[in-house]
Symmetry: D2
């Protein structure tokens, strides 16, 4: 163990790999003509220690050229042939059962580590290896539904990535109009919340004095943002997204802004799903903005409510919902296209919709006891609080379809984040402003009436 | 598992951590007044998710201020209190025994992962965290002899570092006279083979046209070389080190060099012991030199023989040694100080010493069947071959004491490295030049005579 | 003189400036309320020595806000009020007439230097001052036609810029898809030869493996290219521009190219007109390309013939032209729109057009004895030779209008550049390939027939 | 003129150059065998336009290898053969006498510009040309005393450098322990005030939290500081230099400092003598420090008084000095070595010395009416005020010899700099603190007594 652990591990790994390859005496065929699975075995063998970079590069380049069904075959092979040493596992289990000492459990952990982990670590030797492995995991995720056997491969990748993409290694960089074009084009490609419509639209989001954009980068993926957040500097908490994105709006001098609005957060790498950075990015950006513009007092999101329409429809169709007949009648207006353009209708709908939304956020729960809305789970989990419900915040086709136009603001108050987070994590408490709570109370009192 | 693995892991981790902390209702004491062990528990709890950077920084700064015995106490606490969840291990063992499926062994691996791993990953959130953890491991290694219980902690650190310091993440950088002084001073501090005597000596090693120096860096430790190699460009394979380091030598124009001599390789971080980079560094430097100076034809070391004197003394004291009485008599000269300065004596000693050295490298073996000399194990393990034995290569006090002045050259021939490495790793074959083998044959034939 | 020259100069300058300002005792009005002309006088006074940065910044910011007629007034003021010290000039003239020694002529030079020069040097203290002065010169050039008095101001600016933008200070940088967007957008704005139609078109010109783009930058104008050249790597000398710019063409692997084609060179700064960099840029890019891709053998332009159509029309309308009636009849086809799309017509036109073009390049001359075509003057002046005339090389509306579709290739053969340049500069010899000369001979022989 | 000015200038220049070279038809000898003076003529000829970089590099490399007397010959040749076009000067003088219009004076200025200016501009094309020209001027300055004819060459260089080294092009960079060693070694070499005794001493001046060092760099001379200033952060205005430089002093946390002390300013390039940057550097460093450490309230120097001992000795030897017999007797102690180590003696000397110093700074004047002390002229010229006189501030051998141990503090109060500078520049007023003035008054009243 201790300092010889790596050496021993490598020795064991190589021995097993030699058996895998059925390693006879030389000569072996040239790299280019060897089967990719044999190459993988080579890579964890002694040969991989001497020529790892070349073999790893060959495997990854070969993999990139495979058709989907060939990829499944290769990935399945990794699961089947590159597991842990079963005998060693058996020995470790026996030893642990005799004496569950720290040493025994440590050996258990090591013995149960699949050979795949070492294979993946060695694939990283290839130039561009890290990005190739992130993309390989995107394949795994896409194919996982059909191939449950691949889930252990995903576990390996997650385990590795949680070390490699440790947030201590990530770097926040500001994105602006002097950022290289090959990075900027990725923002256009990856923006997931409010689509960026080409270079002119992109420019409007990063160049004006009242716009900011920040992304996390990993040193090894210098041209590939991992996640980015778009920020608008404003003179108050905005209640709709269209004015923020309007092509002809007049920018606000940065020094006059009081509020930083996080209006879009997008993950860039499908292969890093579940390796969460969003929370860290927002907090770091808050610090950065405070340093640059000390007068900023409010840090808030303008967020979609992606599950609201579906939930409300269920309520409307359910006899058990507390919705009153009068309310149901008001909500029937939502079924007429264009309802939001008629001020009278929209005005009637507003109080009923907001009250329902308060219930959606504060009372509706998943089976596991969390809020129904996934965006809410993210921000509440970060320690933010639900600050305001915005009627007709997003009247795009998508905004109407998924949330009847509703948007919400989550407030990031750094002094309360820890407390909110703990209350949420331990006691499932949803932090909400008095104004939002009041919507609920009004609803409750109405019910009593 | 799959993409929710991390989320679940974090949830489990936090629950256990809460129990560790004995987490009651708030208020908790301010960071500065909390015990460091409680902080560690906090860091893996929900609180750590929200305020990880601050807590991690506090722990590491606190740790840096502890006295040795307090450090031992803290490290021991990590082993005792931050192991894996024993119930989960027990369940995983049972499940595996019922059905040793890939999923079951994967769960075994995960269940047996100690909470320490997550703690270490979170400590890395602190600014400077990576370096602090490397130094923490140096403590663990220093204290390990007395505290075998800490060995599992070392295993955790090695496991983490083997991911973090994956050679795919390391960057080779040339070190020269335009390198920042805070990096250069580390070369002076860490040079382990031929001590650097201040800034003027350092300059002589990196500034002349026929000198090169390269180091591996990790992006997170930008000012801390991990390992560095010093290279002399020469017109042939050198047989002694003093002329390479002479203050008044005339430099060779780089374009006229035919040979690159690796005359010193030094690790810089005690805390990365056993995480081997040396092999990779040499190979990458060979590539780099070839690109810059395509006329270079020979890549060779000039290396010490640190175990030779001790081994030879044993031979001389042993009745079972094949040394003849005549040879023993010649070698008696080694006991007179200054023997190497008398050309007649040195000339008599040379053939006997070289023949013995050939035996030392080619035939002497450790219990595990490897060469006795640790430097030989390193270079042969990299696929180099033993090229030449140099009489009076290093007549410094240290060179005489550890090797009776002997040095050797290992040849790095990139076309043969893989083959040599495999023969050595699998069949313990020591690659050696015909000239070195001839020394042995001469000895053998002499034995027959 | 010598080392005290600057000190004395400053003293003189300040004294005169004080008189200009009518400098009474303090207090003076705050910066913001002072007239811009008074500020200019301040800047060359003692006050400017102490507070130069602030005053220079105020002047340039104020200038940027002036309306055109106010700018003319300010610029005229510079000419009228910031000339040299007339008494000193008179004294220097007298001294020189008495004894035209080197010292006397040196004093003449210094005495005749207008105060404007020092004013312009001090304006450069403002952040962004250099760019502001380049833009101020663009104003001067635009206004010069109407205000001949401003020509001396232009001379001052040219004198200063020829020092500041000394080619030794310029840096060649490659422009590619990883270049910051704020630089790339300037390429779109400034491309003067073959318009860039948005970001997708730009990307096609700089991202593929067989495309290169280089620009000169000045350290003080880091985001402002001064001039840029677009290069296509091809397998032979191209005879038309459309295939080079086609959106759907298949890129050539860079390693397979034999030829580098400079198909567009654009100046970016109107204010640097007449400060020529183009020649240097091309030569430096040739060196750069040779280093990167040693297999490149031919360096050639694909250039417009902007004066050809006008010249040919004059020929066709002139009785003194050597054009035969038969040729004139053939050329009448050029007056029918779409002539180039009829292969029969285009085929008949080709020999007549090319022969005329040979005459245009080799024989037609300006009053000063130089070729009529401005692009030819540029490349021949650089030492290139006229390599080939390309029929229907550019059939865009502009190409047809200015050159009846004709383009030409100039060859940059570094070994002949010096010789060609000297022959051209001293004896007005136009370097041309035998093929181009042959076109002329054919024409000559025809004339004899 | 205007935009064709450069083209015409080049044409004229080249014609004259051709005559200089006696340019016949080719072939010319290869670059390497041509005389350096011929090369210089080549460089301003057409040949220089085509092959400027190569010729310029050859000239500068050749020049670097010349012996001193050969350098004088080359430099003299520049003066004799590369003057202005005398006929053109004569024509311009005549034109100006007929009509002294702005255009005529502009032509006078241009005509009188020596060909040397263009030659120097073209020498700058060589890689490293700027630095080589700065060193060439150092030669000119060194040789100027003996060769007054070279003074016009110096004037040309100063004229050029005042454009090239325009302060708008200079960059302030902080120097610290992470600065490249090849820059740091220049600090050791160039420190002119308080010698740096090797790397350990250097480190003590730039690494501790209460030390700063800043330098001006020119983009073209990236590794060559032009001037640097060393700063100590302290808790009050220091009155002696030794405690600031003591090897074993305890550093002050930067946040606790109230005062920034400029205790050493050194020029690095002899060839830039008279191109003054010091004033700008100090002011820019004050701004930088204020931004970093807003609590800093006082910016002050600790400066030598290099002319004081000589002046005081003259006073002591003069019958016209206002020194009283009693004072003269007290000052006689200065002639006994070690006087400053006897507290009683030093105490008696103090008031007399300080009173004399007040007179030295406030009343003694050069022929041109400026203070006698050159350091005082520099700081007062920058707008600083004389703040305090420090008895026994520098008791090194040098400090005692040149100033009987006296040092002084000059205060940089940014709000008063402009006013002080103008008063000094226009009315020769020396700004001094009431405390320093009081020393003088006491002396005056004493005289009356």
């Amino acid at each position: 163990m201790n300092i010889n652990y790596m050496a021993e591990l490598l020795a064991t790994v190589s021995e097993r790999a030699s058996r895998l390859v059925g390693l006879g005496p030389k000569p072996r065929p040239a790299l280019a003509r060897t089967d990719i699975a044999v190459l993988a075995a080579d890579l964890v063998s002694h040969r991989g220690e001497a020529s790892g970079v070349a073999i790893a590069a060959e495997i990854l380049s070969r993999y990139a050229g495979l058709a989907p069904e060939e990829r499944i075959r290769f990935l399945t092979g990794l699961v089947e042939r590159f597991g842990p040493d079963e005998e060693r596992v058996a020995r470790a289990v026996e030893a642990w059962r005799r004496d569950p000492s720290p040493l025994a459990v440590s050996e258990l952990h090591i013995a149960a580590e699949p050979l795949r982990q070492e294979l993946l670590r060695r694939l990283n030797l290839a130039p561009g290896g890290t990005l190739a492995l992130v993309r390989l995991r995107a394949d795994v995720l896409e194919l996982t539904a059909d191939e449950p056997a691949l889930k252990v491969l995903d576990t390996d990748l997650v385990h590795l990535f949680s070390s490699w993409f440790n947030r201590g290694f990530l770097v926040v960089r500001r994105i602006d109009w002097s950022t290289p074009a090959n990075i900027l084009e990725k923002l256009i490609a990856y923006e997931a919340v409010h689509e960026i419509d080409g270079w002119d639209d992109l420019r409007r989001r990063i160049e004006p004095t009242d716009r900011r954009c920040y992304a996390f980068f990993h040193p090894q993926l210098a041209d590939e943002p991992l996640i980015f957040v778009e920020v608008a500097l404003t003179a108050g908490i905005p209640e709709a997204v269209a004015p923020l994105l309007a092509p002809d709006r007049a920018p606000l001098p940065a020094k006059e802004a009081t509020t930083a609005v996080f209006y879009s957060i997008s993950n860039c790498q499908a292969g890093l799903a579940g390796i969460s950075f969003g929370s860290f990015l927002i907090k770091q950006v808050v610090e950065e903005l405070k340093r640059d513009l000390p007068q900023l007092a409010i840090f808030v999101t303008l967020s979609p409510a992606p599950g609201f329409a579906r939930w409300l429809d269920q309520e409307r169709n359910s006899d058990e919902s507390p919705l009153t007949p009068a309310e149901r009648q008001v909500l029937d207006a939502l079924d007429s296209p264009g309802w939001h353009r008629d001020p009278a209708v929209a005005g009637r709908v507003e109080p009923v919709l907001k009250a329902a939304a308060a219930r959606y956020y504060l009372e509706a729960r998943t089976d596991r006891g969390r809020p129904v809305d996934p965006v809410a789970r993210f921000h509440l989990g970060n320690g933010a609080r639900l600050e305001r419900i915005d009627h007709l915040g997003d009247v795009s086709a998508r905004g109407l379809e998924q949330a009847y136009g509703l948007m919400v603001n989550y407030l990031y108050d750094l002094d309360r984040i820890e407390e909110n987070h703990e209350a949420y994590a331990e006691r499932k408490v949803v932090a909400a402003s008095p104004a939002v709570r009041a919507l609920l109370k009004r609803e409750s009192s109405r019910e009593l009436a």
